[in-house]
């Protein structure tokens, strides 16, 4: 093809992309003269070049579009939605023709008569009279006031009235940049990669020898190559905004087609990443933004009814974080409806009803990543064709990235994508199985565990399938030898190591013979003959010159077998949460305050230890306060007679929960010990003591933090009075609360009241306990928890044939309006208690426990 045409195509494609953005901007801000001139000039340039190159069809369409734009510019035609739609349509036609030229080298056949007639009608004011469409103008203005940031188009800033198709070279910023074909850069990158490898080999050889003549020049070579590598990588970097340039147009089209108001906000579009990565994420990103606009954002009426502003927001945000790029796509739309996902998941048969019951809301939401899963009720022109998030996820995982989603029904959805900066060079762990070494990308490696014949990390098996206990969870194992169809060594070989990898939400261990080092490797594609082997993602040459295969954790995961993703996800969610039982040892902070025995408080409750000098302590009203982290923190003396201390520094234990803090003034901090709390003598409530316990052979008073919290903030717990001390014959209470603060506070309190308390962080974990056959006399559950909420938890427990169907269930929440009470009762809670009302809690569980 003609070089001139090539050049024209590259330039025009760029201009058209810029035009798409500009036109949408113009629609929102019709008064912007600069913008108008720029659009006009871009179009004019295209027209001029068409005429010069002899492209009559293209020229005609551009010419008639230019006419309409000319009237915009003169101000004799208002920028209306209809006419902008028409202009965009014309641009699409131009793009089609340009694409045709790129393919065949000449203009494709086609009739533009109808389009041109419509453009002319607007131009001549036939069908679209100038109307003072105040409503449109206003809403457009309000859109603009929220400042839509759109990628800087790659055109020079316009000069007033500049219509010259060719800019003067001296002022042209293009003079400082060159258009280089991507292929040239790719070749450069390949060669630099080779150079890096050769350098590594040289360094390795040199390291094996003593000081020699080559050392100094080799060092220099080393530096130059590193810089060269960086430089070449830099040429491949492009701002992520390039991948976003089509989005404003897409969102605009969605808003028009579906009658929605959507504001697209793009942040961090200057964030750079490798061109190759950029290409690969472009489509997934577009798809997701389209989804947000189509499924996420509701119609203005629906938004109004839900008490949200009519205009929906989609925010794209990109930033660097430790060698990775994070891209967030969030909308304030309707969020994912777990119920319809649940229904759909059952219909499509991905899960059984039984599996669903044990799943948290978050896990259920993950189903949208399953193949062919769309919850859109109707297929629209925009999306909902069932090709969806599974493809997005696959594409992102293909480039070694991860995608996560959080969604709150009615509030919106946020996707977080994490991708490597570049694909060319990755950090990998080198392992050995049999006679060969393999590389495992570091990004999916969680940890390394050495197998021991006895002791904790013992290899066990179930019907020949190897498993291992890792921190009280069962980790499925797969032997690398086995998946590579190599001879199996004796199980439990003492030198074996396990590499714990995570793929999506699934964790498993790969047994290898040996683990070497991590190395920066240059990923090279495998030859076509070997492409079909799914467990290899590429190969590379190590520093010693040998070729090794790179294992693809996704491929390995697919061989792990029938571990259904859903179940694995449930397990991994639970794995992160640790069970804390009050029978077990607790870290205690021992301090002295006032006369008598030393005092102890669970360390987990103390957020910080501080020292304040006396002059920092101020008196407000009749309370002592101190300025702490920009806020006033009340200080409470441990005993009233402590105020005597006038000099020196004051030791303070800081307790905080969410944004509230209080300081407890003590005389001296003694020690931190790990002990079982076994409160022997119940103290007389009200004095801030739970009772006495023997810690390291000495009697220590266990402090009731709750008492002091209520002194500091009278509303922290409501009215506080003595805890009811009763004997409950060791009834078992299960406490489900995601806040460690409340867990740590309520557990000792209930312990003192005579209950045996088991605490868990999530409903899911509680359900796991039920699966294990644990039973309780009373269950106390928080309402607002990540994952499965308290309501869902209650519904699950109260469903048919659940083991804990009969167990009394008490809700504990900081929200305690009558509506909440009703909702709690409806969900199956026996009682609903405000979180700070300890007395009510103790009373209720005593009653329920007796009734049960």
């Amino acid at each position: 093809m003609d070089d001139l045409i090539q050049e024209f195509l590259a330039e025009t494609t760029e201009s058209l992309n810029a035009l798409d953005i500009d036109i949408v901007k113009l629609e929102q801000n019709p008064g912007d003269r600069d913008l108008m001139s720029r659009i006009f000039r871009l179009v004019h340039t295209i027209k001029g070049t068409c005429g010069f190159l002899g492209l009559p069809r293209l020229e005609r369409v551009v010419h008639h579009s230019e006419n309409v734009l000319g009237r915009y510019r003169e101000g004799s035609l208002n920028v209306t939605q209809d006419s902008v739609t028409l202009i965009l349509e014309a641009f699409d036609r131009i793009k089609n023709i340009v694409a045709g030229i790129a393919e065949t080298g000449s203009e494709p056949e086609g009739d533009d008569g109808a389009l041109i007639a419509r453009l002319d009608a607007v131009y001549e004011d036939k069908d679209m009279p100038v109307v003072e469409d105040a409503a449109v103008q206003e809403s457009v203005a309000s859109l603009e006031s929220e400042a839509v940031e759109v990628a800087e188009p790659s055109v020079p800033p316009s000069r007033e009235k500049d219509e010259a198709p060719v800019a003067a070279p001296a002022e042209d910023p293009a003079a400082k940049s060159l258009r280089v074909s991507v292929q040239v850069l790719e070749n450069l990158m390949t060669m630099v990669s080779e150079l890096v490898l050769t350098r590594n080999q040289l360094l390795q050889i040199s390291r094996q020898q003593q000081e020699n003549l080559f050392s100094a020049p080799l060092q220099r070579l080393n530096h130059v190559v590193s810089e060269l590598q960086e430089g070449v990588m830099q040429t491949r970097m492009q701002p992520i905004g390039n991948a976003w340039s089509k989005l404003p147009r897409i969102i605009r089209d969605i808003s028009v087609e579906l009658d929605k108001k959507i504001n697209l906000e793009m942040r961090g579009q200057e964030t750079e990443l490798d061109r190759q990565v950029l290409d690969l994420i472009k489509d997934p990103l577009t798809h997701m933004v389209r989804n947000s606009g189509d499924h996420g954002i509701e119609t203005p009426e629906a938004r109004k009814a839900a008490g949200k502003p009519e205009e929906g927001r989609i925010v794209l945000n990109a930033y660097h974080e430790g060698g990775h790029i994070i891209i967030e796509i969030s909308d304030d739309g309707k969020g994912l409806n777990t119920d319809s996902i649940r229904k759909k998941a059952l219909e499509t048969g991905i899960v059984t009803e039984e599996q669903l019951r044990d799943m948290s809301e978050k896990q259920i939401q993950q189903f949208i990543f399953s193949a062919g899963f769309s919850t859109a009720e109707a297929v629209t022109a925009v999306s909902g064709r069932g090709v969806g998030m599974d493809v997005v996820r696959t594409n992102i995982e293909k480039i070694g990235g991860t995608i996560e989603m959080t969604s709150v029904f009615g509030k919106g959805t946020t996707f977080t994508i994490k991708i490597p900066l570049t694909l060319a060079i990755v950090s990998a762990l080198i392992v050995e199985a049999g006679t060969e070494r393999y590389a495992i990308p570091q990004i999916s490696v969680r940890e390394l565990v050495r197998l021991s014949a006895t002791g904790e990390n013992k290899l066990e098996d179930i019907h020949g399938t190897p498993v291992m206990r890792l921190r009280d969870r069962l980790l499925p194992l797969i032997s690398l030898r086995k998946i590579l169809k190599m001879e199996e060594v004796e199980q439990g070989d003492k030198s074996s190591q396990v590499i714990v990898v995570q793929v999506g939400a699934q964790s498993f261990g790969i047994i290898v013979d040996r683990v070497f080092d991590t190395e920066e490797i240059v990923v090279k594609p495998v030859s076509r003959i070997l492409k079909g082997i799914r467990i290899f993602s590429g190969n590379t040459i190590l520093g010693d010159g040998s070729v090794i295969m790179i294992l693809d954790p996704n491929g390995v995961a697919s061989m792990v077998g029938d571990v259904s993703t859903a179940r694995a996800e449930a397990e991994s969610a639970a794995e992160e949460q640790k069970k804390f039982e009050t029978d077990r040892k607790t870290s205690l902070l021992i301090f002295r305050a006032g006369p008598g025995a030393p005092r102890a408080v669970p360390l987990a409750l103390v957020s910080r230890l501080e020292e304040f000098s006396q002059d920092q302590i101020e008196v407000s009203g009749n309370k002592r306060v101190v300025q702490y982290r920009g806020k006033l923190m009340p200080l409470v003396p441990f005993s009233p007679d402590m105020s005597a201390q006038k000099e020196g520094s004051q030791s303070v234990l800081v307790f905080s929960d969410r944004d509230r803090s209080m300081g407890l003034m003590v005389d001296e901090i003694v020690d931190i010990v790990e002990e079982r709390i076994d409160v022997q003598l119940a103290g007389e409530g009200g004095f801030g003591l739970l009772g006495s316990a023997i810690i390291q052979g000495k009697a220590v008073d266990v402090v009731d933090v709750g008492h002091f919290l209520s002194v500091a903030h009278s509303d922290w717990f409501g009215t506080s009075s003595s805890a009811q001390i009763m004997s409950h014959g060791g009834r078992r209470v299960l406490l489900v609360d995601d806040s460690p603060f409340f867990r740590n506070m309520l557990a000792p309190m209930l312990g003192v009241a005579g209950y045996r308390v088991v605490t868990v962080e999530s409903a899911q974990e509680a359900l796991n306990l039920s699966k294990k056959g644990e039973a309780f006399d009373v269950i106390i559950s928080d309402i607002e928890m990540p994952g499965m909420s308290g309501y869902e938890f209650a519904k699950t427990l109260r469903s048919q044939d659940h083991k804990w169907k009969e167990t009394p269930l008490v809700a504990l929440s900081s929200h305690a309006t009558s509506g909440d009470f009703d909702r709690g009762k409806a969900a199956g809670f026996d009682d609903y208690i405000a979180k700070f009302d300890r007395d009510a809690l103790l009373r209720t569980i005593a009653q329920l426990g007796e009734a049960a």
Binding site: S527, I529, L530, I533, R534, F536, I541, V547
Partner: protein, 159 residues
């Protein structure tokens, strides 16, 4: 030369690199040959088709080694016997053919060319373009592209 046809044309002569496998002389067009190597350390690739001996590093490029004996359904070489490799470029990728030995380059006249005998073993027919009548020997011309294409389309031994 990438992907170049090995079909000979009449009234001309062509240059071939000769090599031996289990006593049989083979030839490949000399223009396809990138390199001739001695014994190489090859990294085995598990799960690969059986004739793939593994991968090796040739001046920073990764080469897929193909064991011609295995491809032709022959017994492996005797323990300790030396092998050689002929490196060819096919569609931008390098392949090394492991053979028993490499001979000279012969310029052969097209008039000595014959089609592959239809009675030949199917495995051999798959990889042969034809035969040249040499004075004391018969030279089988290997069709590198057919041989590799057959491997591409073959079902892989992957999961």
């Amino acid at each position: 030369m990438t992907g170049q046809s090995t079909k000979p044309q009449t009234g001309d002569s062509k240059d071939f690199l000769t090599m031996t496998v289990d006593g049989q002389v083979f030839g490949i067009p000399v223009l396809q040959v990138q390199d001739v190597l001695g014994e190489q350390r090859v990294t085995a690739v598990p799960l690969a088709p059986p004739e793939v001996a593994g991968s090796l590093n040739l001046r920073g490029r990764i080469v897929t080694a193909i064991n011609l004996r295995r491809r032709l359904g022959l017994e492996p070489v005797a323990e300790g016997a030396k092998t050689m490799s002929v490196v060819v470029d096919y569609q931008g990728e390098l392949y090394s053919l492991i053979v028993d030995g490499v001979g000279e380059v012969l310029s052969l006249s097209d008039s000595d060319f014959e089609k592959t005998p239809p009675t030949l073993d199917r495995v051999w027919r798959e990889v042969a373009t034809g035969v040249y009548r040499l004075k004391n020997d018969l030279l089988v011309i290997l069709d590198v592209s057919d041989m590799l294409e057959a491997l591409y389309s073959r079902d892989h031994h992957a999961a």
